[in-house]
Amino acid sequence: MLLKRLDIENFRLFYGPHTIDFATEKGMSVTVFHGENGAGKTTLLNAIHWCLTNKFTPGVNKPDVIINDDATLEGNTECFVELWFEHDGIDYRLKRGFENGISILNLLKIEHGNTKPIAEGKNVDRIIQKIVPKELVKWFFFDGEAIAAFSLSGSKNFKADLRETLGFLYVDKLQADLEACLSKKQRLVSLGTNDKELRKLQESIDKIEHVMPLLLENKSNHEQAIAQIEIQQRENDRNLANQPQVSELTKRRSGLERAKKTLEDNKDAIKKNTIYLLSHSASALYVSKEAKNLEKTFQVKEVEGKLPAPYSNQLVADILKSELCVCGRPVKHGTKEEDCINKLLEFANTTEINARLNEVRLLIRNIENLTDPFLQKLEAYRKKSSEIDRSIAETVADIDEVTQAINAADTDEVHRLEQERNELRQKYSQTFSEQRMNEQTISSNKRIILDLRNKIDSVAKKLGVNKKLQSDISKIEKLIDYLNRKANEKEEQVLRVLEVELNNSLKKYLTKNFIAKIDPESYKVSLLNDAGGNVGESTGEGQVLKFAFISTLIAIASKKSSEKIDFLVDPTVAPLVLDAPLSTLDTEYGSSVATTLAKNVEQLVLMGNAKSWDGKVEESLSQFMGKEYLIVSRARGPQGNKPNKKIVINQKTYEMNEYEAKRNDSYIQEIRLR
């Protein structure tokens, strides 16, 4: 998909008609939009997103508003977005209109300058799904303003999103459907017989399966509630940071909270490593302990002469001295017994015993050499974990101190926001614990069902129930087994490729030798420094990792990875549209990220504010830039004390906002390129 043009009319911030032509020439396919916060950059991104999906990007402001407010006041009840694009050499016009609360979608094909309708409604969705699968839209059309909040932290939503993107959507669906098929067939087996045991087992399954939909619905509700609370928490953070009296304190607290999160993540990683190490070294540690006991036994029993064969010098000397044999018989001086015992000295051989003991000692040393690194590592983990605990405690104390300082601020708004913050935290923690309990019940129920099904299976086999049914069950079981196996293999391969490609990308973005790691269980993406320490997500490098991650996913989606992955999602080539990506980055990375993105994607649309448009970024992007626009925001009232924001482009200064306008809206002005 190559974006060619965008027509919008009365869409959200944009009153009346507006047209944008995108840069399409190979090597010069970067289009840049400049605009202040609130000017309409996110609205433009969402115009494309909405046209393709009928939805806005997550967290967008006022998602219910589609028609421009002024247009609505003037009695307009419709608006539209029309996207002109090329796909596989064919030109299309995709138009989504919104009329009297109803969304209408049309797709036209352009042939020799003439347009021809090819589909409407759901049929268009089907064609669009083939061009840009809905699983990938969120990555190609990315709200970069949300990148600070976008977390590679391995949350459930992140994992689910990534699984969907990587092509596991239908595998996961088929796995669930096969389980449902198996359950249905087994139910028929139980109901088809009069066997009491079978019916009882089936009744138990039925009871659990009856409550499972509710538990799964709760699971989804909890996930949504947590995502919603997280959005509210971010909003609350932003509002607090905007309060001049506590702005600095709030930013400091946010920094401390991020640091605490990084420390907790590091602790989790150590915990996982410890469990892994223990599970792999438990047998070696046990053998080591037992070997040490064995050495002790040998020491006592053989060297000290407590074992009679081969006889040790010490044993014979002890018997003669105590005049008592180990069997209890007296060995008096001058007797036959003393004579016999004395003769034993000829056979007694301490050297042989010592040689045997040395062999055992050598074996034990070898075992210790093998187990020592495990013990040293465990000790290092324990120490590191204690250090992290101390750091967490110190950070918590710092957070409390800053919170007290914030609470001391003498403004009602701060108090209200702080109260809201506390309520949100409580709500989060309560929902989180409910979610965990619910998930534990779900997994425990699944285990019980599996167990009951196995029992049904074995009873049914004994009873010899309907052969056709048995054959169907056996087929489904084979399919489940195969799919689970292959899905695991595929997941391992895809994550490995993703990690390799991500590290290749990172080398282009970063000058430091940092390495990205993906946790195969949670999909959490971490950035590690030379010493193996976790580089926090909030650092400059942590932010760059997110861009590297997005561009890697896009490269993999378009099948540009070094290793061929048999994708279930069709290969996709689409433009990368990023809203405000550079404003969150340190200036040292702004130009390298912009240049690398421009080189690596087929078409790039960047939106940013004046702050992120410094000389370096402009210079490095100019060679790839085909189109450049300024979004000017207009306000109805007088300027008053409000500032006039400016931006310097190609050494020329532009005003970014206008006052005393006819209405509150924005317009798009093309900037002539050098």
Binding site: Q129, Y170, V171, L174, A180, Y482
Partner: protein
């Protein structure tokens, strides 16, 4: 047939053949899942499971 199976080679060849057949069935079922998820089709969960079950019953492996 029995003697052939005793050498172990043909038995593993049989296993590969079965695995190959199952892979084919899974591929077709995944395509069915994709088709049933298309915007102009979209069926309910119950109907989808029934369609998958019908497809499995028709498959011989």
């Amino acid at each position: 047939m029995t003697s052939k199976h005793n050498d172990g080679i043909d038995e593993s060849a049989d296993k590969i053949a079965t695995e190959y057949e199952i892979a084919g069935v899974v591929k077709r079922l995944l395509q069915l899942e994709k088709d049933l998820a298309l915007p102009d089709i979209q069926v309910t969960d119950t109907v989808r499971v029934e369609r998958i079950m019908d497809a499995i019953e028709r498959e011989k492996f």
